[in-house]
Amino acid sequence: MNLLAQAAPNYNFWAAEPGSARLWIMILVSLLVGAGFYAALFYAPSRIRKPIVWTFTFAGGLFYVLYWAWPQPVSYHPDDIPNGFVENVGFWLHDALPRVADISNILTAFLLGLGIYSLLRIHTGRIVKRQADRGFSVVFFIAMLAILVFGYWDWSLREADTKGLLQDSANWQLANFGQNLLFDGFLQQMDSAMFSMIAFFILSAAYRAFRIRSVESTVLMASALILMVSLLTLVVTNWDSGVANLAKNVFHDSKADPATFQAGYLNWMKLSSIANWLKAYMQVPALRAVDWGIGLGALAMGLRLWLGLEKGGVSV
């Protein structure tokens, strides 16, 4: 219990000082033990593997189920002494939560490793088997190695920079420039370029496919056009103040105020009002309904995974 309730800055068997040799040894040992456990699980027969996987899945899920279902300590303070069994368990769950989050963070970080392993396996295979497009795999390896080397080199320099000199690019060295070029110069710009392609596809699709062929598509298009125009503040501010002026001068609406775009009874003619109505009464309820369905599906799927009922998972 003390293990789970430990306060972080205390260095003990479970926590070493940042940057110390002991920490590095602990990381190495943990990695080896983790890899060994993973390998053992990988090669174990499925009749042994499945109960192990299910036990861990169930234990992980059970913690969070208990955390939400169990009465929580009111006005909790670390120095409080729990009173009775219910409060004892409540305190334990409360204390253990950050440590469980740490474990889940570490497990999720391992997924990154799994992704890298998967990429390495696929691209190595492609090069070794001399498959078509293996040139791209070579580019992948060069790019990955370059950003790995420059990334760690830059990081180690920044770790050693006790005076914060590297905050200023005038003091940068080759590693810092290299990391900057690879991350900011290449990776980010390529990422941005990939995403911006969506605009081209949307324009092309709007031109060729967005057609009024039925009542439904007409309603959809009218709503879409109103919402798109409502994003054009140059148009909206002029239209809305025009409506306010109309209310004031033509209809003598005493509540209209062109200075603040308030149009009294003619508010419904304002573009912003129509767009807000569409969003509040059409778009949001529809999205909530979809979210509700997704939520129910996620709950059902979560229960199946937790209880080991999912086929292809731990059930036979």
Binding site: G164, Q188, A206, L234
Partner: protein, 323 residues
């Protein structure tokens, strides 16, 4: 062989997509050029943006703000404008902040670029630069959003307890809670605001786990906006800036304030006249969102034209066929 004569609309129906792409590139690029850079776009901010700006400007300056920056460069068009505006407001008010992500390993690199940009901008204007450890903390990346947000809600001292940062006075790594930024934070409720800048559904996780513990506010992409607005309507999120328009809203109020004096350009919030927020007192106000918005106008107008022209073409062609 008899060839049928193709009319104008029929030709228009068969325009090569590369021509459309070229028109889009030219329109958006020209409107991004320096000759349009200083144009101030008129705006009447959305109510959710007004609520956000009021929260930002009324947050006590002696309390820390938590910033969860869950975006990468692919949504720079919207989220960079959001984060820049947010940090400009915080820095102009000398509010300390912690920044981290629960979404993507690339996110810390991206938000560090934004901080560096604003710091160098402030330096060139002769304003105080924000210093790591003293003024802000970079807690980096937490891979599991669900677990991390649960831990923050339960006990922030334990959730971030293992994180260290370099103290520039000694050059040594120290626990982040020894920094002036987090020294007075014992629970997430001690932060005046918990800001989320996101391009994903991480707002849903935050509302589920932190809603009762922290004052949440959101700046998100246009895609995420519609599913996040109900959180605002329900009062679970105190303010929302949606998409590039939301970024422009905040920048506009940074320039002209909210319900501020008799300035005819100030944003007025009907029914909330008592909620007054002045413009920012130092640094830039109209920046990235304002710069992008004219180009955005061009792209949207082009999109509307494409839909309209495509449909007229279809109707004319169909009419000719039936005639």
């Amino acid at each position: 062989m008899k060839t049928e004569k193709t009319g104008f609309w029929q030709k228009l129906q068969n325009v090569d997509r590369r021509v459309l792409y070229l028109i889009l590139v030219v329109t958006t690029s020209v409107l991004l050029s320096p000759m349009f850079a200083n144009i101030s776009i008129p705006d009447d901010p959305e109510p959710s943006s007004k609520a956000l700006y009021y929260k930002l400007m009324s947050a006590p300056d002696n309390k820390t703000v938590f910033v969860q920056s869950d975006w990468t460069i692919s949504t720079r068009g919207e989220n960079a404008a959001h984060l820049e505006a947010l940090l400009r407001v915080l820095m102009s008010r000398h509010i300390k902040f912690v920044i981290f992500t629960v979404a993507d390993p690339q996110a810390p690199g991206v938000y560090r670029d934004v901080i560096r940009t604003i710091n160098s901008e402030r330096k060139s204007e002769g304003l105080k630069e924000y210093k790591l450890w003293e003024d802000y903390l970079d807690l980096k990346y937490f891979p599991n959003a669900e677990g991390t947000l649960n831990a923050i809600a339960s006990d922030v001292r334990k959730a971030f307890g293992g994180v260290t940062a370099k103290d520039p006075t000694t050059g040594q790594d120290r626990n982040v809670f020894e920094s002036p930024v987090l020294a007075n934070v014992r629970a997430v409720s001690d932060a005046s605001l918990y800001m989320i800048v996101t391009a994903s559904s991480s707002i849903d996780r935050a509302v589920e786990r932190l809603n009762e513990k922290a004052t949440l506010a959101l700046m998100c992409t246009g895609v995420i906006g519609p599913s996040a607005i109900p959180w605002f309507q329900a009062g679970q999120v105190k303010g929302v800036a949606v998409g590039l328009r939301g970024g422009l809203d905040v920048e506009y109020m940074m320039k002209h304030g909210l319900n501020y004096g008799s300035d005819p350009k100030t944003a007025r919030w009907a029914g909330h006249e008592s909620q007054v927020a002045p413009p920012v007192s130092e640094g830039k106000s109209l920046a990235r969102a304002n710069l992008y918005f004219l180009s955005f106008h061009g792209a949207i107008i082009l999109l509307i034209l494409a839909v309209v022209v495509g449909n007229i073409g279809m109707f004319v062609t169909r009419k000719k066929r039936t005639a």
